[in-house]
């Protein structure tokens, strides 16, 4: 039996995610869209906290909300054109999007809900996810250690930096 607070929190988060997700993709103003995305990301962070993954939640807020969204806002500002703040949607496009989204949700939903292994699982308590553990796993070379991906993603980021340089250069 969950604590009532948890349940209420869950509903708030769930509804927030749903509502703001929908708003993100339906609003006509791009800046608003970015803002709604921020709310969704925050709500996601709350789920992570609820799952006891505080570190992840923090990263979510720091990287996503703090980093990526700022990027978005900069990009929006850079590409903003006077008088063209709103975009109109073509109806056929909307139907396309709707069918694709619904089909995707239906298929994934069916697949997930029909899977026998998920039924009735509850949140187990007493999982200790502390920073020390995370740090050690992150730099371990044994099984369940993540040293190699850690190194690899640095390469990825380096590559993206160089790529960004290539793109950003005037010439």
């Amino acid at each position: 039996m969950e604590s009532v607070g948890n349940i209420i929190l869950y509903f708030i988060v769930a509804i927030a995610i749903i509502v703001f997700s929908v708003l993100t993709v339906t609003t006509r103003k791009i800046l608003r869209s970015a803002t709604y995305l921020l709310f969704v990301l925050f709500a996601t962070a709350i789920i992570y906290f609820q799952m006891d993954y505080q570190f992840l939640g923090a990263v979510q807020i720091a990287v996503y909300a703090g980093g990526i969204l700022v990027l978005f806002v900069f990009a929006i500002m850079l590409t903003q054109q006077p008088g063209k703040s709103a975009e109109a949607l073509a109806t056929h496009r909307r139907w396309l999007g709707l069918t694709a989204a619904l089909a995707g949700v239906a298929v994934c939903g069916y697949a997930l809900f029909s899977y026998a292994g998920f039924g009735g699982r509850l949140l187990s308590s007493g999982v200790d996810v502390n920073m020390e553990k995370i740090g050690q796993f992150l730099l371990s070379t044994d099984k369940f250690g993540y040293l190699l991906p850690f190194e690899a993603i640095s390469v990825l980021l380096l590559a993206c930096i160089i790529g960004g340089v290539v793109i950003a250069r005037r010439r």
């Binding site: 298929v107 994934c108 069916y110 697949a111 997930l112 029909s114 899977y115 026998a116 292994g117 998920f118 050690q136 730099l139 371990s140 070379t141 044994d142 099984k143 369940f144 250690g145 993540y146 040293l147 190699l148 991906p149 690899a152 993603i153 390469v155 990825l156 380096l158 590559a159 993206c160 160089i162 790529g163 960004g164 340089v165 290539v166 793109i167 250069r169 010439r171």
Partner: protein, 489 residues
């Protein structure tokens, strides 16, 4: 806890990183006047590294708790990619020295090397996280490369199309992996495989579909292929050639590893038929679109789509013969396609012409270029005695080794499609040899690097098939890991 000696199992990756660093240092710190030797420097470094890799085989074993695996086939595959990259770089030397891109030429080589590193990770990864990182490393910088020719609008459009589709596909791929994770609780291929035995749930099928979609994007399998033509056409030719051969080869190999090692138990009835449908669609649609293309790069894009379908035949075979044929096919495909792209690049660099009609009467003015192009087309079309014939034959044999009548029918469909493909390959030959035109491309003098690249490709096209030890060697290495096909059900 921390056993850094495990890095010794990945000499190729580390070596590549070293090459990258050298190139990076050269690019960053060498004086301006010696910058123009930078491309040659990178080519030489890459070539030396490739030779080194050939001479010193990587060890066999697993590292990082089974996250990374090095064995003979991965070593061979990486070497093949190395060779391809050397050729790509060689052919790009002159292009990167032109005034418009010379400023960024260092980045070109660096990005190529980094994406290659990503592909190495894909090939050796036995853990989904590492695989995803490898995949992203291999695909994201290519968007930057596609946008390399800044003066052309097409280059930007190609980059945009590529990056959007790539991110979308990675999202789909991650969704699929999340389902897998939900079912198995692990990201290690081996652990997943053991927990998935006997699993025929809808979730598994959905996740398989998404995983196939995610990797199929890299391989440009139908229906995940539509970015291919636009990007190939818009991107600089050097990038296109890189994209069409190297990243396709790496993706094909890792695709096989994932399907066999992770989903091996779900072969029959599940991904067998998925691949079946995809192969039929890929080969057919690729061919149908290729027929009408006038732009040679776009044409080769569709041709490469259908070639990917043939590569898939080696995967659906799920046996040693199929896998070794697939690796061999990639090797041959690298040489054939790079020969074609080399000719296109050489001509485009000097005249800016890339459509088939521009090639009318090319044989009169540029017999050697036309000859090389013809060999490339014949090899792609599977005409003996060129290497393409052998690779095609072997991959069909490999597929048929699976034994069911359905596979025979699949091979028949593929074979009928080879006729269509032959048709459009011959269109190029026709333009060069049969057609006459008033404004023929004038006789051009290609740079020695281009020429060297083309000669190497030509030699490859002619001799890879005739020298049997190459295939025999690949087959031997794959034989060593033949046990992994035992999990197939």
């Amino acid at each position: 806890m921390m056993d850094y000696s495990q890095f010794l199992l990945m000499p190729q990756e580390i070596g590549l990183l070293l090459v990258f660093l050298l190139v990076f240092i050269y690019d960053t710190f060498m004086p301006e006047r010696s910058q123009r030797y930078m491309p040659i420097f990178s080519v030489i470094m890459m070539a030396l590294y490739t030779i080194y890799c050939f001479c010193f085989p990587a060890g066999v074993g697993e590292a990082f708790g089974g996250m990374f695996e090095s064995n003979a086939p991965t070593w061979v595959m990486k070497n093949i990619l190395n060779v391809g990259v050397v050729l790509v770089l060689l052919q790009a030397v002159k292009w990167t020295n032109n005034d418009f891109v010379s400023v960024r030429r260092g980045e070109f080589y660096e990005l190529i090397l980094l994406t290659l590193l990503g592909m190495f990770l894909m090939i050796s990864a036995r853990h989904f996280l590492l695989f995803v990182i490898g995949l992203e490393t291999a695909s994201l910088p290519i968007a930057a490369l596609a946008a390399f020719e800044k003066r052309y609008y097409e280059s930007h459009e190609a980059a945009a199309k590529y990056i959007f589709t790539a991110i979308f596909s990675s999202a789909i791929f991650l969704l699929g992996i999340s389902f897998v994770y939900g079912m198995s609780g692990s990201l290690y291929f081996k652990d997943i495989a053991t927990t998935l035995i006997g699993n025929r749930s809808a979730l598994l099928i959905a996740s398989l579909a998404f995983v196939i979609a995610g990797v199929g994007f890299k391989l440009s399998l139908v229906p995940f292929h539509q970015w291919t033509a636009d990007v190939y056409q818009g991107a600089p030719t050097a990038v296109t050639s890189y994209l069409s051969v190297i990243s396709k080869g790496a993706a094909a190999f890792s695709f096989l590893v994932i399907l066999v090692q992770v989903f091996g138990s779900a072969y029959s009835q599940v991904w067998e038929w998925m691949l079946y449908a995809i192969i039929v669609l890929t080969i057919t649609i690729g061919n149908l679109f290729a027929i009408r293309q006038r732009n040679l790069k776009r044409f080769l894009a569709f041709s490469s789509i259908s070639q990917a379908g043939y590569i898939m035949l080696g995967i659906i075979a799920v046996n040693v013969m199929g896998m070794s044929s697939m690796i061999y096919y990639v090797l041959v495909y690298i040489f054939s396609n790079l020969a074609a792209f080399g000719v296109i690049a050489a001509i485009e660099r000097q005249t800016g012409k890339v459509t088939m009609d521009d090639y009318n009467g090319l044989f009169k003015t540029n017999p050697w270029l036309a000859f090389t192009m013809m060999l490339a087309m014949f090899s792609l079309g599977g005409i003996p005695p060129f290497a393409g014939f052998f690779s095609k034959f072997f991959i069909f044999v490999g597929a048929c080794h699976q034994g069911t009548v359905a596979i025979y029918i699949l091979v028949l469909i593929a074979l009928i499609n080879t006729i269509i493909s032959l048709y459009y390959y011959l269109l190029v030959v026709k333009a060069m040899f049969l057609r006459q035109d008033d404004c023929v491309i004038p006789t051009i003098k290609s740079h020695w690097t281009e020429r060297t690249g083309l000669i190497l490709c030509t030699l490859g096209i002619i001799f890879i098939g005739l020298i049997s030890c190459i295939y025999a060697y690949i087959n031997g290495t794959v034989d060593a890991i033949g046990a992994m096909f035992a999990a197939i059900q």
